[in-house]
């Protein structure tokens, strides 16, 4: 702020931003005009995304401001603990390898477009489906908030001061999603990934060299982390994890991995694949992303070694400031554009996925069953705006020392839908009321515990971190996982009780064979409308969860 506006970087940033956006919108429109049949192919949903495109799209779910800003910021400020993102993104693949093909199959047999659709069909419970939908919408908000922070910090680094960066970030996102639907972001994702690879490549090759090699980077980091933080009167962190941080580290990795593919936008991307094994093939290929993610995380240490001192001690500024110090202005502009677009595109996809979830599983289901497609499109657009305002509330209301806490807060909530969705994919033994009770208890528990975590150095403050002392273990652990354990215990105990009481368990719309069906088999169909509700072309009624689909 005090160093004035970097005109060259800002100009390059604005130009790239504009060009990429215009290309995206034009391409989306051109396709639309040329051949309506091609829409399916391009709109993130229609059908038939093969291995290569899915690799890009799923990778896009990982490469967000989370990767570029939040993770390195945590490494910069707290050391080894920030590296949990690496085990997280390794563990996530075996997990999705196992359960997503089953979700793909049953969804394509029955026209389920959201996880809430599946839960409704499987457990015959509108209340449980509502719980899953509402959780998805709620948990997406802090995740979008993280993206807003990402755009905000690059604008701030380029010299825009005060509240302006956040307002601009919000305005861009709102305008962008409101007018585009999902097709433009899906197209821009390719350009975005290209830009990001370029920047990462240059950063991880040139910066270590410029600051004196990896040995020097880790030595500088070690020295910095051992120093005492004036706010907490404890060391900032350590280079290898302190023994007290082990449970937190492992539980953050596992909790995040279990939570990731519960998010509505991630599930949408998976359901849009061509056949059930595309996901598996990708699970074996996507770790390439994790490797790069690990190197990006270490940008936090490079910032330490380069002597970056972010304004106001804001760790989120570490990477942008590092780029500004290390790169010529014009390339810093390119890097900032990559980060900015890399935050904007996922934020748009998340907002639209959350809005579609509302329209489909709340509005159509509970408020206006007979809504016309035009009405639904209007509602979707409006809700996507509401979701973004929700995200803004999270940005303004929560402590900013580590933006990653926003995403981790979302994880606490979204993970509580895991039993209904994933257990449901394997067994109908669990009782719908038990799942609902477990969800409610875990949501309440997780929220209350997270509320009472103070910001380090500020007693009495709230939502200050993702970990709290777990019962029985007596160690700090990720609240999401503790709440999840509580959730599972309640679900199991109550299922036994409710079955003994013979409470009605509802009718299961699915059969065993539905979970292994593949493309080309009987009754396996494309999912139209997977995406397009917000884009102005709502899902046809055939995709409705109310039709049994056989």
């Amino acid at each position: 702020m005090s160093h004035g506006i970097d005109k060259v970087a800002l100009a390059v940033f604005a130009a790239l931003f504009l060009v990429v956006t215009v290309i995206g919108f034009m391409a989306a429109r051109w396709r639309r005009a040329a051949d309506i049949m091609h829409l399916d192919e391009w709109g993130l949903g229609g059908r038939s995304f093969g291995t290569f495109i899915t690799w890009f799209l799923l990778g896009g779910d990982l490469y967000t401001a989370y990767t570029f800003i939040a993770v390195p910021a945590l490494v910069f400020g707290a050391g080894a603990v920030g590296f949990f993102a690496v085990p997280y993104t390794v563990i996530v693949y075996p997990i999705i390898f196992v359960f997503l093909p089953r979700l793909w199959s049953v969804s394509h047999r029955h026209g389920y477009v959201t996880p809430a659709d599946f839960v409704r069909g499987r457990f015959d419970s509108r209340a449980l489906a509502l719980a899953v939908a509402v959780t998805g919408i709620l948990a997406t908000m802090p995740y979008i908030a993280l993206q807003l922070v990402g755009i905000q910090v690059v604008l701030e680094t380029m010299g825009l001061g005060g509240d302006l960066p956040l307002i601009v970030a919000f305005a861009i996102l709102a305008a962008y999603t409101y007018s585009s639907g999902l097709r433009a972001p899906a197209l821009i994702a390719f350009v975005k990934d290209g830009l990001i690879y370029l920047v990462i490549g240059v950063a991880i090759i040139s910066i270590p060299h410029q600051v004196g090699g990896w040995s020097h980077i880790f030595a500088a980091a070690s020295k910095h982390l051992a120093a005492v933080n004036p706010k907490t009167h404890k060391p900032f962190g350590s280079l290898a994890l302190a023994p007290a941080g082990r449970w937190a580290y492992g539980s953050l990795a596992l909790g995040s991995a279990l939570a990731l593919f519960m998010y509505p936008h991630c599930i949408t991307a998976v359901l849009s694949t061509r056949d059930r094994n595309v996901v598996r093939r990708n699970a074996a290929m996507l770790p390439a992303y994790s490797l790069v993610l690990g190197l990006i995380a270490l940008l936090g240490y490079m910032a330490v070694a380069a002597g970056v001192k972010p304004a106001g001690g804001n760790a989120q500024l570490a990477v942008p400031e590092l780029f500004k110090t290390m790169f010529p202005s014009w390339f810093a502009g390119v890097a900032f554009a990559a980060i900015g677009i890399g935050a904007l595109v996922p934020a748009a996809i998340m907002a639209i996925a959350a809005a579609n979830l509302f329209t489909r599983n709340v509005y159509r289901e509970f408020l206006r069953p007979g809504a016309t497609p035009a009405e639904e499109a209007r509602v979707s657009k409006l809700v996507s705006l509401v979701v973004k305002f929700g995200a803004l509330v999270f940005v303004l209301g929560l402590d900013k020392s580590f933006a990653i806490n926003l995403q981790l807060l979302g994880g606490i909530w979204i993970l509580q839908t895991f039993p209904a969705i994933v257990f449901g994919l394997y067994s109908r033994w669990f009782h719908r009321f038990a799942l609902l009770a477990g969800w409610a208890a875990a949501m309440a528990y997780g929220t209350v515990v997270a509320y009472h975590v103070p910001v380090p150095g500020k007693p009495g403050s709230h939502f200050g971190g993702p970990t709290a002392t777990a019962p029985f273990i007596g160690q700090k652990a990720y609240i999401a996982l503790t709440a999840f354990a509580l959730n599972v215990v309640i679900v199991v105990v109550l299922t036994v009780a409710f079955r003994a009481l013979r409470l009605p368990e509802g009718r299961d719309a699915t059969v065993v064979d539905d979970y292994v069906a593949d493309a080309g088999e009987a009754d396996v169909r494309d999912l139209p409308g997977l995406v397009d509700v917000a884009g102005g072309q709502p899902a046809p009624a055939s995709g409705s969860p109310t039709s049994p689909g056989r």
Binding site: I91, L239, P243, N277
Partner: protein, 79 residues
């Protein structure tokens, strides 16, 4: 994958797949096994290079699991 256990060997293959999927998870969730600084590699403390190495190890495990799973699915369809 229900009802596949009849064919001889299928159970074994499924077991191998399960083990392949579990290996990277268990290795990385066993946090105390790698919270050290030495031995270093290319200037990276052990904590960092070990986990990055598991990204590759995990990819290899998943590739193996993928090949075996495809074989199982082909068998299932052939019946």
């Amino acid at each position: 994958m229900e009802g596949e256990g009849r064919r001889a060997g299928t159970g074994v293959v499924r077991g191998v797949v399960a083990v392949l999927l579990l290996i990277p998870c268990l290795a990385l969730l066993w946090v105390p096994s790698y919270t050290r600084v030495t031995p270093r590699l290319f200037g990276f403390p052990f904590f960092y290079w070990y986990q990055l190495a598991w990204v590759l190890g995990g990819a290899a495990c998943l590739a193996g699991a993928y090949v075996l799973t495809m074989r199982l699915e082909r068998q299932r369809r052939a019946r």
